[in-house]
């Protein structure tokens, strides 16, 4: 890989777009540099399930032609992006990390993909993920795990480990993730990158292979707060195809990311998201970051959200319940893999064989839990009760946002753990999301951004900022302030310290 190409892959998205707009570099050169980087390192990282080199170069050439013709270009024109494999993209394999969808090429574009295309973003390919986004390590992918670029023996988080690893390994400056219980934020935290779960309804779910409809939310991932905001602005906004989409203007996230001013801002520390179970180095870096916010002029207070203690339990009833229904369509009848259809077997048997072979253990576990929780006679005790907890958590947030503008916590209790360490212990795995789940249950928004390396293992630590529903701009304002202060302290972004691979 040329030095020039190497340089291009380390640029921020905003700088790439500016360079292309000025004509300093072509979109094709930028795309090629990233494809070269993928070719160089992805055998070791395994961030991608499918690289669409041809499509990416074609899209890049079209953008270069547009620029030459003097047509207007968007703020991210020509910037490469890694797309989580849970997003339908016309004609491009979309597996959601599952064997059951092996070989399926959607006949349509998700709304997010349509908006990326409209914004002249260059989609490089599809990234690895836990099967149907069920997991926190990307080890539950049917296509093998993704490796954390900071330490290839460790997990990159999940479910969107592929997208986060693509950013941290400089394979792409932008990525799309989806976040049902932390699948954007926890991977961001353990890879030293930035990720935002927008307010529920802020980004269309049309074309997002559903895990849990009432919790799923697609969002932007990048290496800087500003890049994340630019991507957020490109994909967000009302979509009549998604009934739960918010019909209001997109929050002014880019402006907020360029403001970065926390003077007089009230910041709440969530008492329930600290202490036992949090790694010492995580707590240490978190405390330092909070002190930094104070020194920047924020007013920091402790806030209690007592029902957060029940969030994990409620989540693991609501999610499996909805998933059991959402995943019913994977039966081998209309698309994807079909198993055991020998001309003799009946339809029910073929459906069973297809699902038996097509789904991994974690998916089956959650389908069974969800089927049970929705069953007649158990519904009130499980699904009904969990929905009540959800309401209580929403009230906790509402009460907290009466007192403060944003809440903060560590994004994940630990830094990246070793591949294989927790894969056979579902509860230990689920606990990774203890700090991120409340936001999904309440439907508001949150960001994770890097705040340093844990002294004990030298791995990235993430800080989570949570804001009220539709207050997504606050995330970017606080995130930008913190990012700038940390960059001043270190002289560079944390991601610059990632191994070269």
């Amino acid at each position: 890989m040329s030095a020039e190409g190497q340089h291009l892959t380390r640029l921020a998205a905003a700088d790439i777009a500016a360079a292309i707009a000025r004509g300093d570099v072509s979109a094709v050169e930028v795309a090629q540099a990233h494809l070269d980087r993928i070719a160089e390192v992805d055998q070791r990282v395994h961030a991608f399930l499918h690289v669409d080199a041809e499509g990416a170069l074609e899209a890049a050439a079209a953008i270069d032609a547009k620029r030459r013709a003097g047509e207007p270009l968007g703020p991210l024109a020509g910037v490469p992006l890694a797309l989580k494999d849970v997003m339908a993209m016309r004609g491009i394999p979309t597996t959601a990390g599952s064997k059951v969808l092996e070989g399926w090429r959607p006949p349509y574009d998700s709304t997010v993909v349509a908006r990326l295309r409209a914004a002249d973003v260059v989609i490089l390919g599809k990234t690895n993920m836990d099967e149907f986004a069920m997991g926190s390590s990307t080890e539950h992918s049917a296509y093998g795990p993704t490796h954390n670029p900071w330490d290839l023996d460790r997990i990159p988080g999940g479910s969107g480990g592929g997208s986060a690893a693509a950013l941290a390994s400089f394979e792409a400056p932008l990525a799309i993730g989806t976040d049902t219980g932390g699948s954007i934020r926890q991977p961001a935290a353990v890879t030293g990158t930035v990720g935002v779960k927008p307010t529920y309804g802020g980004v269309s779910r049309y074309g997002l292979v559903a895990l849990a409809s009432s919790l799923d939310q697609a969002g932007p991932c990048a290496r800087t707060v500003e890049d994340t905001a630019l991507l957020h602005a490109a994909i967000a906004g009302y979509d009549p195809r998604d009934s739960t989409s918010i019909n209001e203007p997109v929050p002014a996230v880019v402006e907020a990311a360029r403001r970065g001013d926390v003077r007089g801002l009230r910041v709440g520390l969530v008492k329930e998201l600290s202490g036992e179970g949090y790694q010492a180095g995580v707590t240490q870096r978190f405390t330092e970051a909070v002190d930094l916010l104070t020194s920047l002029g924020a007013e920091v207070v402790e806030v209690s959200c007592p029902h957060f203690d029940y969030a994990l339990a409620a989540y693991y009833l609501i999610l499996p319940s909805e998933a059991s229904s959402n995943l019913a369509r994977f039966d081998g009848m209309r698309f994807g893999v079909r198993v055991g259809d020998n001309g003799e077997r009946g339809v029910e048997e073929v459906m069973s064989l297809t699902r038996e072979a097509g789904f991994g253990a974690e998916v089956k576990r959650r389908i069974m839990i969800g089927t049970y929780a929705l069953s007649s006679g158990y519904y009130d005790a499980y699904y009904g009760q969990a929905q009540k907890v959800r309401t209580l958590i929403q009230r906790d947030f509402a009460a907290a946002f009466e007192k403060v503008d944003v809440l903060v916590s560590p994004t994940a209790p630990t830094t990246a753990f070793r591949i294989g360490e927790k894969v056979d212990d579902p509860i230990a795995m689920y606990l990774n999301d203890v700090a991120t789940i409340p936001v999904n249950l309440a439907g508001n928004c949150a960001m994770s951004l890097p705040i340093g390396l844990a002294p004990e293992d030298g791995l990235p630590v993430g800080l989570q900022i949570m804001a009220a529903a539709k207050a997504d701009a606050s995330l970017y304002n606080v995130g930008a302030a913190l990012e700038a202060a940390l960059r001043d302290r270190w002289g560079h972004l944390l991601i610059e310290e990632a191994p070269a691979l």
Partner: protein
């Protein structure tokens, strides 16, 4: 499948021992332009799988969006059935695996139907003549239709024993309204007629609302008959069967009658009725057992998280209520009384599709006899020749009324009136314009008529002789000659009167 013939006991014998209780579930396919949750067209009879998209095929990632026209139709149906309209309600997922259902769940409504607690009054025969029975409506809720499976091979056309199956998803996602009655008790021996009268009345209401084609043979109106027997009205309901595939009004009646006889036979022989789905066979007039599930189906209903709740604006609901058409049963009775028509005569007007047209023609000033005569006669013939519905002819009730008034006043005769109608249908303008441009007014001045009569009498001395000789029926020749001479613009009755006057003969 092995078809065993069930024992059935005589209907009267069954009724002597048992009290039947019915519940009727009617599924109506709405005639909206697009499907319930996507923009695909809903036309019947398209090439299989030509009217599908990612949403109605349930492809991964696709999401539903509610068709506002279907919600409006559901509310109008509810209002026409005297239901309450929910101020807030949700869709729910009904989960079960079947290949004709793309998502393996049906988006339906469960404990929050959009309309509930209504009634429909129907007229049914009883021992004391016709009486009105109020059928309680439990609920009317929205849902999507499934695809259609075609099972190829095997003897039964059902999935079991078939060699393979084909599925057409054109129907998947078409909006359905399911209308469920409360238990219909006290029908006794008239239960079959009550069931039929209810479905008929419901069909008429739906047709008057214009929300559905209500064609049972095409499946746009489908009825499931739930029936149970008990020893007396004082004891709890017995176990019910649910009979599907009841696809004509006659079959509704026959299926109820059959199930009463079959269940009575089971109970009389000391057996127990099994709660099961049964299939009605139109050709043989029997029901057969569907597959009996070893355990009760658990649909694991839960609120549809992909759709936001529906909260109809009360002002909008009131606006829909205010613009509802009159109940067809009430209207029929009102018009039959006002017009003095028999049931048979009313049927012929309704079946000709002429009820609205006749009513509007009368309202525009024509008398009933004339209005019926034109719409059911000349205009029905023209419509039939052209293969169109009466209502689609290029003539309005106001124009027909005007023509009929001119006939009554003697300004037109029937022959001229037909020419005026022809002119209006040809786009030559209103009746007056056609009369003026074609010169069709009746000649009312006696002068020209007398001259023409004089000529005709002179030319036909033999005829005059017959008339004066006591054969007044021969006068037709003279009258005909005069009509010919005046190019049909004479009033034949006037010509005849003037002729007899002239000959000094009294017309009998």
């Amino acid at each position: 499948m092995t078809t065993t013939t069930d024992d059935v006991i005589d209907f009267d014998e069954a009724l002597a021992a048992f009290d039947p209780v019915m519940g009727l579930e009617v599924h109506v396919e709405l005639s909206t332009n697009s499907k319930m949750f996507c923009g695909c067209p809903t036309e019947f009879g398209g090439e299989p799988n030509s009217q599908v998209c990612p949403v109605c095929l349930g492809l991964p990632g696709a999401l539903p969006a509610v068709n506002a026209m279907a919600v409006e139709a559901a509310i109008r149906i509810g209002l026409a059935l005297n239901c309450e309209v929910a101020s807030w309600c949700r869709f729910a997922r009904k989960n079960y695996f079947y290949p004709d259902m793309p998502k393996n769940f049906q988006t339906s409504q469960y404990d929050e139907p959009i309309c509930f607690n209504g009634y429909l009054d129907v007229e049914v025969p009883s021992a004391d003549g016709v009486r009105t029975v109020r059928i309680g409506i439990e609920r009317a809720h929205m849902e999507e239709d499934t695809g259609k499976a075609l099972h190829v091979g095997g003897s039964t056309g059902r999935i079991h024993g078939a060699d393979y199956s084909l599925v057409d998803y054109n129907r998947a996602g078409i909006p359905l309204i399911e209308i469920v009655t409360k238990p219909i008790e006290g029908g006794g021996r008239f239960s079959p007629e009550i069931a039929r009268a209810y479905v008929t009345a419901l069909r008429d209401v739906l047709r008057s609302l214009g929300v559905s084609d209500v064609r049972m043979e095409q499946g746009s109106l489908r009825c499931d008959v739930n029936l149970s027997l008990r020893r007396s009205p004082e004891v709890p309901f017995g176990t019910r069967s649910e009979t599907k595939n009841v696809n004509s009004l006659r079959s509704v009646e026959r299926a109820v009658r059959y199930e009463i006889g079959r269940q009575a036979a089971v109970l009389e022989s000391g057996g127990t009725v099994i709660q099961e789905t049964r299939h009605w066979h139109e050709d043989t007039g029997v029901t057969t057992s569907g597959r009996i599930k070893e355990e009760a189906e658990d649909y694991r209903y839960f609120p549809e998280p992909d759709l936001v709740p529906i909260a109809p604006d009360p002002a909008w609901v009131e606006q829909l209520r205010a613009t509802l058409p009159e109940n067809p049963g009430v209207r029929r009775t009102r018009l039959a009384t006002a017009w003095g028509l028999t049931d048979f005569e009313m049927d012929s007007v309704i079946n000709a599709g002429a009820l609205d047209l006749v009513e509007e023609t009368v309202a525009a000033g024509a008398d009933l006899v004339g209005a019926r005569k034109w719409w059911m006669g000349e205009l029905a013939r023209v419509a039939n020749d052209r293969g169109v519905d009466l209502v689609d002819l290029a003539i309005t009730p106001v124009q027909v009324a005007r023509i009929e008034v001119l006939v009554a006043e003697g300004a037109l005769n029937d022959k001229l009136a037909r020419q005026v109608i022809e002119g209006v249908l040809a786009g030559e303008g209103d009746p007056e314009e056609v009369i003026a441009s074609r010169g069709l007014a009746v000649v009312s001045d006696d002068g020209p008529l007398l001259a023409a009569i004089e000529d005709a009498v002179t030319a036909n001395p033999d005829v005059v002789e017959k008339i004066t000789g006591g054969k007044p029926q021969a006068a037709g020749v003279i009258v005909g000659a005069v009509m010919k001479a005046t190019r049909g613009q004479a009033d034949a009755a006037r010509v005849r009167a003037l002729l007899f006057d002239k000959l000094g003969v009294v017309d009998e």
